[in-house]
């Protein structure tokens, strides 16, 4: 039995689905960030897998993933800084309770 492309894509798809679920249902902002990371990871895997299987002679997928990881790192750092700041101000990281800036 060969390892074909689907066999990598399915776990990635499930990971993505989990990310979506978590993103929609979680209240804690950090948990939402974690779900976001899941989705990102799933996408990264897809890049790599498609690159590896379908265009083995090229490197775009790998570089995209590389950059995505870098950006994800930056984004997470910033988001967490904001979350911590919000927490300082509101003593709370529940997204449903933080609505003072709404409208």
């Amino acid at each position: 039995m060969n390892l074909n492309i689907l066999m990598y894509l399915i776990p990635s798809l499930i990971m993505f689905g989990c990310g979506v679920y978590g993103f929609i249902t979680r209240k804690n902002m950090i948990a939402i960030m974690i779900s976001l990371e899941l989705m990102l990871n799933a996408v990264d895997i897809n890049f790599v897998v498609f690159n590896r299987f379908l265009f083995p002679g090229q490197m775009e997928g790998m570089f995209f993933t590389l950059f995505a990881i870098a950006i994800a790192a930056a984004e997470t750092a910033l988001a967490l800084a904001i979350i911590i700041n919000v927490f300082r101000a509101m003593r709370n990281v529940d997204i449903t309770d933080i609505n003072r800036l709404k409208f």
């Binding site: 249902t25 939402i32 997204i95």
Partner: protein
């Protein structure tokens, strides 16, 4: 004296106004008063010089063919509307302008002097606002002088407004008192309403004749006729447009001159300081309307329709005001109604002075009424100012306007009493006092117009004698005076007495001014002689009136009360001035405010603004409805986005499958 000095006559009061108005508070009160009097004195001297030079000088071009020419001293453009319609600020001297210069400066000087004493509290210290008072007096004098020397009708309008405002400011001088504020407001608004008609009249007149200037409108009979002809026979509702214009202009004059039914402001205007009443509301400003009609006299002569309106209004007002004056208890109001009546005399006199047949040959009949009117204006200014100043002295002494607080003052204030008596005799038309001569001419003119008019005016003359002596007797006799203030009433300081004496003297001698040679409409001397029938009968009527007054009011008795009781309704109506004020109150407050302003304000806030707000609200509601979608919850966004994406995906798949 060169006529250029007239510029100074007008300019000095203006300068005094600015000087006292801007710098007055920096100076002492007394000093401002003295400065004001000095300024006025200089003005008066110059004005006399100019006027006398005009009347009696024989300079080059002054008299042509026995006709005194009008002299235009200066006439610079002030505001040009179009090529023809240019408002100029000029100075023109003609008989009536010169005469008015004398009247205004004389009375104004007297009032300036008198106020030095009058506007003080009982310790002799000047009141608060003394500087303001003198500044306003100067402003008024300036405006009035500017009015009489005007070279065009628009300039008259401008100064009409100016005197209106100075009158407003002076009536409201005691601005803490609501009555004064109300009276000043009323005076201004009523005269303003009249000025509106004046303005419309000017618009019509200037549109059709294409000019504002008097020398093109009424320079002489021929120019007046060509001016009327330039309207090209245009008519409006059956009357010529010029007649309409003249009627409107007369309404403007009627407002200032307090003709019925625009007279209502004048009695209330007595809330102002009494010297102001003497200056503005007896001697000068109120004759501005008469002056205006006299100015446009040739046009009125041609447009008989307008003249008839003046005649009817004048004759009715004379009687109406005299009737009210008979029952007033406030001496200033009684004098105010007397003023209205006398001004109506002048108006009537102007109006009777034309007859329908001969429009061009103006000598004799037509010129007489004009001359008589101007003469009466002159004499009336003097004796009415005297009466008001006397009234002021009395009020100053007893601190009340009501004659019930006076009575029997003759013993306490003999000088005032005599001065007042002279004034009364003058106004009643007893020879040789000033009023006799002028009133006699008026009556002659009225009889020439028609017997009915003559009889009517004679009757009013009799009433005049009666009510003036009623006032006089109720103040100075009737019964013993009850002293109810801490001071006994007494004659006043010299600053107040001197003007009384001067004016009393003038009132005695003013009748001997050769008016027929001076105050004629075209500058040509008029040949008149005393009409003994008319003179005799008018003196007789006056004497009857005086005798009646003595019978009723010399000593305390119950006859007046019984008369009052027997004609109670009439008396009350007359005392309440036939409810004209109430009528106006009703019209302004109930009709204009209640039925126009309030609904309009409501309409504005609720309908117009409501529509705008409605539009805004609808937009707002829509956006609120849409806003739900924009919940701000990122999870909901993701969810909705997913659903959308899935829908698209499913739709694509289904499409592919099919």
């Amino acid at each position: 004296m060169p006529f250029e000095y007239t510029i100074a006559v007008v300019a000095i009061p203006l300068f005094m106004f600015l000087f006292l108005g801007l710098g007055g508070t920096q100076m002492g009160r007394k000093i401002t008063g003295v400065l004001g009097v000095i300024g006025m004195l200089v003005t008066t001297v110059l004005a006399y010089g100019v006027a006398l030079t005009y009347f009696f000088g024989t300079g080059q071009g002054q008299v042509v063919d026995g006709v005194r020419q009008a002299i235009t001293v200066m006439n610079p453009d002030w505001l040009s509307f179009s090529e023809n319609l240019v408002v100029r600020m000029g100075i023109m001297l003609d008989p009536i302008a010169a005469m008015m210069l004398i009247v205004i400066t004389t009375v104004s000087l007297m009032v300036h002097l008198y106020s030095l004493g009058y506007m003080c509290d009982h310790h002799g210290h000047p009141e608060k606002g003394f500087q303001r008072y003198y500044a306003f007096l100067a402003l008024f004098t300036f405006s009035m002088l500017g009015l009489v020397v005007a070279t065009n009708i628009f300039q008259i309008f401008i100064f009409f407004e100016m005197v209106g405002v100075s009158s407003y400011l002076l009536i409201g001088f005691y601005y803490s008192s609501p009555a004064a504020v109300h009276a000043s407001k009323k005076a201004f608004i009523v005269t303003r309403l009249a000025d509106l008609f004046f303005l419309i009249g000017i618009l019509v007149l200037s549109y059709y004749t294409g000019t504002f200037d008097f020398d093109k409108l009424v320079g002489n009979m021929a120019t007046a006729q060509s001016a009327v002809a330039s309207a090209g026979g245009a008519t409006f509702m059956g009357c010529s447009v010029i007649a309409w214009a003249l009627t409107f202009i007369f309404i403007g004059g009627a407002g200032k001159s307090a003709m019925y039914p625009l007279h209502i402001w004048l009695p209330d205007a007595m809330e102002g300081p009494t010297p102001v009443s003497a200056l503005i509301h007896a001697a000068t400003m109120v004759v501005a309307g008469v002056f205006l009609v006299a100015r446009l006299f040739p046009l009125y002569v041609i447009e008989q329709g307008a003249m008839d309106i003046i005649l009817v209004t004048g004759a009715f007002t004379a009687f109406y005001a005299a009737a009210i004056a008979c029952v007033q208890s406030d001496i200033k109001r009684a004098l105010a109604f007397s003023t209205i009546s006398q001004i109506a005399f002048m108006m009537t006199s102007l109006a009777v002075s034309s007859n329908h047949s001969e429009l061009i040959t103006i000598h004799g009949g037509q010129g007489l009424g004009y001359m008589a009117s101007m003469f009466h204006l002159f004499t009336h200014a003097m004796f009415k100012a005297l009466l008001f100043l006397c009234a002021g002295a009395i009020i100053h002494a007893v601190h009340s306007n009501e004659n019930s607080d006076m009575h029997g003052l003759h013993k306490f204030m003999p000088i005032t009493s005599i001065a007042f008596l002279i004034g009364c005799l003058a106004i009643a038309g007893i020879p040789p006092f000033a009023g006799f001569w002028s009133k006699d001419e008026i009556l002659v003119a009225a009889y020439e117009r028609g017997l009915g008019w003559g009889l009517w005016m004679s009757a009013v003359a009799g009433m005049t004698a009666f009510y003036m002596f009623r006032i006089y007797l109720l103040i100075f006799f009737w019964k013993k005076h009850k002293v109810h203030t801490e001071h006994e009433p007494a004659d006043q300081p010299w600053t107040m007495t001197l003007p009384l004496i001067i004016l009393a003297t003038i009132s005695i001698v003013a009748g001997f001014v050769p008016a027929a040679k001076m105050f004629t409409w075209d500058g040509a001397a008029l040949h008149t002689q005393l009409n003994w029938t008319v003179a005799g009968s008018s003196v007789l009527i006056a004497c009857v009136g005086i005798a009646l007054a003595f019978r009723l009011y010399y000593k305390e008795n119950d006859l007046p009360a019984r008369m009052k009781a027997s004609a109670h309704g009439l008396w009350t109506a007359a005392y309440h001035r036939f409810y004209m004020d109430e009528l106006y109150q009703f019209i302004t407050h109930k009709l204009v405010f209640g039925l126009l302003s309030v609904p309009i304000a409501w309409f504005d806030r609720h309908i117009i603004d409501g529509t705008m707000n409605l539009m805004a609200n609808v937009t707002n509601q829509c956006s609120f409805a849409i806003r739900r979608l924009q919940s701000g919850s990122i999870q909901a966004y993701v969810y909705i986005y997913l659903i959308g994406a899935l829908t698209v995906a499913v739709a694509t798949i289904v499409c592919v499958l099919i």
